[in-house]
Amino acid sequence: MPYIPHTPEDEKEMLATIGVDSIEDLFREIPAELRVKPGSLDIPNSLSEDQLYQKMVGLARQNLDATKLEWYLGAGLYDRHIPAVIAPLISRGEYLTSYTPYQPEMSQGYLQAIYEFQSMIAEVYDMDAANASMYDGATSLAEACLMACAHTGRKKVYVSEAVHPSYRQVVETYLWATEDEVATIDTTDGVTTGYAAVADDAGCVVVQYPNFFGAIEDLAEARRVATANGALLVVVADPVAMALLPPPGQFGADVVVGEGQPLGVAMGFGGPLVGLYACKSDYMRRLPGRIVGRTHDHSGRSAFTMTLRTREQDIRREKATSNICTNEALMALANTIYLSALGKNGLKSVATSTVNNTQYAMQVLTAAGAKLKFSGRVFGEFVLDLGRDATAVQSKLIDAGIMPGLPLGPYYSGMDNCMLVALTEVRTKAQIDRFAAELKKVLS
């Protein structure tokens, strides 16, 4: 598409056609006090390409990143191996620069890629259907809560305290807008136990699997509680863990959401991410976002096209499940290539290495003087009680070239001495040993 500039004459003519005097008139609805005053933004002069590049590199150097430190910080984003095949494929112009490539006559390739993505995500979680992706795991969860409230006609969701704190904040933001209520289900020893609080006003019960502390929740119990109260069961699940744990679909989860970043997407300082969203077929007509379906053309050839479009807000704004009008197609493509490249066995070996590294780290870090905060089974992440302020310990270890994890004080009261430590398949025994040795120095 060419770039078409507007001359002042063009603008005048267009304004005259629609019957207003100036571009300013088009913004009349916005109160004056909310508008940015011309000249009030402190924006410096333009830079040449080279100057801009140097400036950005200088800014980037100020970040601590996983290429410079040995990385044990997880809490939703994980330092996993990204197969080399992904970057060149997602960098192809047909994928990288295409904008809304959903016209079936033009975009069979991208549509098929999304269809394969949906199929894989549904299979990973053992669910009937998945959408073309959401912004990220947190918004996927918020959308699942909205869908559960719409489906049940109820105005309250019950979310475990062991669901990622940031995810819970996003749920609160979304449900504030719809005037729905968010209640918390308490935990004991790092797992959800306060199910007695759930009542028959519940649109859904939400648990995370493995949960924020790394522990493996009892989904059968969560299902029982949801069913007893006529609520849906929504599970936030790590897709990599599904290679070893029975997926939520096997426990009768109604909706499963998650973050797709561990499947071949860089941590990227927190983005871009990709939200996974899968559900039982009963809710297909309430699924938020796009869905690509498979059909055949007049000659009987396989063909892919967007389907069930009437759920979407561009068809019926007031009736739509969600106001999302997009998806994370490029990141979903990275997930698809990752899963294709690894296959079932590959994903299983990633998960197995993760568990082995986690078990070993728990052993040597506790030998170094830290205690395990909780006693339950974990997958790839666990909470250490350091016996002293975790933020101070973190900063000393960063000086030693190790990012040890997330201090939990800011997120949970009474956990100032606790650190959430994550392991992935890329950590080596030598690195974990060094982590233990450095931790021992700090703690003694």
Partner: protein
């Protein structure tokens, strides 16, 4: 030319009503189904739901749009057409017969007087 049976009552929003005793059968008209195109899904209320005239009681989804359907008269839903779950196309092929949507126990028969007869509805869609 859409079919407009003479023995039914009609609404401006293209629903029809057939009254037998105190039970009213409700569906969408031949004109409505042809405007919608191929119907792929019908959402209907459960039996026992109480409706007032003008209430939305469900929706009819076609390949290109979704339309809400409105109760022509008030009453309690006694039955929804379960067959449409597997055969939504009956709304297209037999809108006044097997493609009916719900049956309602009429609460106030005088509400029927506010509806159009076939001649008036025929004029609306002409």
């Amino acid at each position: 030319m859409s079919s407009v049976p003479a023995d039914l009552k009609y609404t401006k929003s293209h629903e029809w009503v057939r009254v037998e005793g105190d039970v009213a059968t409700i569906g969408i008209t031949d004109h409505a189904q042809s405007e919608l195109g191929d119907v792929v899904f019908v959402e209907l209320p459960s039996a026992g739901r109480s409706l007032s005239a003008g209430d939305t009681f469900g929706s009819v989804e076609s390949v290109k749009t979704v339309s809400d359907v409105y109760a022509p008269i008030g009453g309690e839903v006694t039955e929804a057409n379960e067959t449409l779950g597997a055969q939504s196309e009956l709304v297209n092929t037999d809108p006044y017969g097997q493609g009916w949507l719900i049956k309602v126990k009429v609460s106030d028969a005088s509400q029927l007087d506010a509806l159009m007869d076939a001649a008036a509805y025929g004029g609306v869609i002409a």
